[in-house]
């Protein structure tokens, strides 16, 4: 079953476009990572899906309804980011108790256990928490709400490494027992790559990639060798990026190499490996590793 479907969606802030021609759909109970460079349009996209904003043009369907102004969508979804606002006078404990009135599947006991584990005091107000603890509290709310559609927009901002790992593991464990559709944005592909099934890459206001993590990884190949050998071994292939590596070079290519062609590469002394997901993502969003060098390369004509 399709939970989210966008067709030719555009969004403009006054007259400036932030999303153009966005078309994709997401199936029920899939965890999708949402990635993109700063200002690519991730947050805008997630807020449109959550029904917080209206698309300027195009069709948005969540649970077969336009999410903007939909009671169905707001009752069955939760959107977590680092700008959550809660009623000021309420202590965390009171908040956790009241959430059951908003979220049908709210699990207060799980929330309490997570609060204890992450050592967040109950009898304090949200505004007095540190940055990392605020994020952790929001993440707990997002997990314990058990909404059919759960959206986390950079949930780990400010969390330390241990808290991040624990959060992702807690989310995954709860997901295994209570599957739901999850959107998870992060700037750190490395930390979400294991728990997501699909990746949605937003680049320059558009969808640059939507598919499984492994397909993206296998779509590219990293080759290392001397320039001469690389030129010889990659005749007629599509080169995505070239980076200097000491005396050698590293080239990233689209992976349409046959076994025979890979054997030829090895014979030329060219090391060929699959890219890490992060490098594949960087290749897609045109951030060739070492590209910042060009800024300092004043010799360049």
């Amino acid at each position: 079953m399709t939970v989210i479907s966008l067709n030719q969606v555009q969004k403009k802030y006054s007259r400036i476009p932030v999303l153009t021609n966005v078309t994709f759909s997401i199936k029920e109970n899939v965890i999708t990572g949402v990635a993109g460079r700063n200002g690519a349009g991730k947050t805008t996209l997630l807020k449109i899906i959550a029904g917080f904003m209206k698309a300027t043009e195009g069709d948005v369907q969540v649970f077969d309804e336009n999410p903007f102004g939909s009671l169905l969508v707001s009752a069955n979804s939760i959107y977590i980011d680092d700008a959550m606002s809660y009623p000021n006078p309420m202590k965390l404990q009171e908040l956790l108790h009241e959430f059951k009135r908003f979220y049908a599947n709210w699990n207060e006991e799980l929330a309490m256990r997570l609060m204890e584990y992450f050592a967040i005091p109950f009898d304090i107000r949200y505004q007095f928490l540190s940055k990392g603890k605020r994020s952790t509290f929001n993440a707990i709310v997002g997990i314990a709400a058990r909404c059919s559609l759960t959206i986390f927009d950079e949930p780990t901002t400010g969390m330390d490494t241990a808290a991040r790992n624990d959060f992702y593991r807690a989310l995954l464990k709860d997901y295994i027992v209570n599957p739901r559709t999850i959107l998870l944005s992060s700037h750190y592909i490395d930390e979400i790559q294991d728990i997501i099934e699909d990746l949605l890459v937003i680049h320059r206001k558009q969808v640059r990639y939507h598919g499984t993590v492994s397909d993206l990884q296998e779509a590219h190949l990293s080759l290392r060798g001397t320039k001469e050998h690389l030129t010889e071994g990659t005749l007629g292939k599509t080169i995505v990026s070239k980076t200097r590596r000491g005396l050698q070079e590293e080239w990233i290519l689209e992976n349409d190499f046959s076994d025979a062609e890979r054997t030829k590469l090895s014979r030329l002394g060219i090391a060929n490996t699959t890219l890490s997901l992060n490098d594949a993502y960087l290749a897609l969003t045109e951030q060739p590793r070492g590209g910042i060098d060009d800024v300092f390369d004043t010799q360049k004509d």
């Binding site: 992702y168 995954l172 295994i176 294991d194 099934e197 492994s214 090895s266 002394g269 490996t273 699959t274």
Partner: protein, 129 residues
């Protein structure tokens, strides 16, 4: 448990398949023994259950495991033997190819290489286990 320490750049589902194959080769998983479910693997390695399922599918397609309706997957009786052959023909052969490539690069002849292998073997055998 983390997979990435071993071989970080391989897609995760392939790492899962490799891990299961190793468990069959070294006898951790015996013939007709129940294999971890995709959810157990997901929990064990903190990975998405769909990814774990994809790893299991590789073994299923190669008939290294078989399905029992409602009970899960089990190790095929000849899985260990077939995996050993496959590893010999693929992984070991590749290592030998790489070895020869490096030897050629360094200008090491057959005699010298044979001696090196023999020396390493003696060293290994001499090691207390």
């Amino acid at each position: 448990m983390s997979l990435h320490d071993v071989d970080g750049d391989k897609p995760i589902y392939i790492q899962i398949a490799d891990w299961l194959e190793n468990a069959i080769i070294d006898g951790t998983l015996n013939a007709d023994e129940k294999v971890y479910s995709q959810y157990q693997l997901a929990e064990l390695f903190t990975i998405n259950p769909a990814t774990a399922g994809k790893g299991l599918t590789i073994l299923l397609e190669e008939e290294l495991v078989y399905k029992k309706r409602g009970l899960g997957m089990f190790v095929s009786p000849d899985a260990q033997k077939r995996l050993r052959t496959k590893r010999k023909e693929q992984t070991l052969r590749k290592l030998v190819q790489d070895l020869l490539l490096e030897a050629d690069l360094l200008g090491i002849n057959k005699n010298e290489l044979d001696k090196m292998i023999e020396k390493e073997r003696e060293y290994r055998e001499g090691e207390p286990t």
